[in-house]
Symmetry: C2
Subunit: 206 residues, 2 copies
């Protein structure tokens, strides 16, 4: 069942959510979101997306500590005091409080196999995973849920914590749940005065 | 106006299209697709997507020659004669015949600026662009059009042909138009016997 009768409304309503209600996410909702992810385009039909649902509370704690370390190091790079004030006040993840957290990894094709489309750059494989993440996110939005993509992490430490093989490239953690706010229909970083959205995309003609 | 009343139908119907009808793509359709792209999530609200609509026929020719060179080199890496036979028969782009072709580039943030979320990897910026490409593609699908992502290209040669600044990382060319086929509701590479889709995504719990 779609929450949005109009497809465009769903695209517009999707938010990078950091504030969730405590409501559980039904298994059915997650399955539908994973099914949408699996409909993403993939370079050479590589289907490289791998999802790791983190159920262990102790592993959550390790991931949160990982985030805190990287965030604290990042903070030292901010020179403007006003930027530092805003940055310090931002909630940039929901690793402890989101009902569900999902690690996303990209399994790189073995070097000896021939994959159509990676000739320009092997990065196309991770771009396929990003498309899967976007489908996952839109499906959650369509079902009345949302997600937040956390990438302020030491990715090597993340892979080690989850015992991920080194052929799986980490892409971050998706925090999933029912949103507590839609940030007045704008990106959270705009609502909280970090940065303003541009009105239109850059499109040039040659 | 949505072609699909159900959001899921649109996600399922999106295809990587290489076979287009000659029908023109109305400006309105493209604008709506760019608007959808601009609703994508972006790391630190960087909005790094840059679209280049290629109107020059001579530039199209240069891009097609670029593709041919890279495709021919790739072909030499295929050892199995059966794989070579199938590969040789595949239409992997629509650079000459798609009504519209659009280069997608990712403007990397200047090293001196602080961007939230790139601390794990700067690749997150290109992942934002991939999400924008997916929104663009879904919007076209929703409007009765489609796209094909061409990445069998020498990206440096592509940037030079389009006179793109070196801070814009090339992500490929989207061929856009009205699809001539839906490949029987499956990926073209499966329909044409290159590779079989897996039934379900890999989801593990830890």
């Amino acid at each position: 069942v779609s929450l949005f009768l109009d497809f465009k409304d769903c695209i517009f309503a999707r938010r990078d959510t950091r504030h969730f209600l405590p409501d559980a996410v039904p298994e059915k909702v997650l399955l539908e979101a994973f099914e949408a992810a699996h409909c993403a385009p993939s370079v050479g039909l590589s289907e490289p997306w791998r999802f790791v649902v983190v159920e262990s509370q102790s592993t959550r704690k390790v991931i949160y500590d990982n985030f805190l370390n990287v965030r604290n190091r990042a903070q030292e790079q901010i020179s403007s005091s006003e930027a530092l004030r805003i940055f310090s006040s931002l909630k940039l993840e929901a690793l402890r409080d989101a009902p569900v957290i999902v690690g996303v990894f990209c399994e790189m094709p073995p070097p000896e196999t021939f994959t159509i489309g990676v000739q320009g750059t092997l990065d196309t494989v991770t771009w396929s995973c990003a498309c899967a993440i976007q489908n996952f996110w839109l499906s959650l939005t369509n079902q009345g849920y949302s997600a937040g993509w956390v990438s302020i992490l030491d990715f090597e430490v993340l892979s080690a914590a989850l015992n991920i093989p080194n052929t799986w490239k980490p892409m971050g953690i998706m925090c999933v749940g029912k949103p507590a706010t839609n940030y007045d229909k704008q990106p959270m970083l705009q609502k909280l005065n970090w940065k303003t959205r541009s009105l239109n995309p850059v499109v040039i003609k040659v």
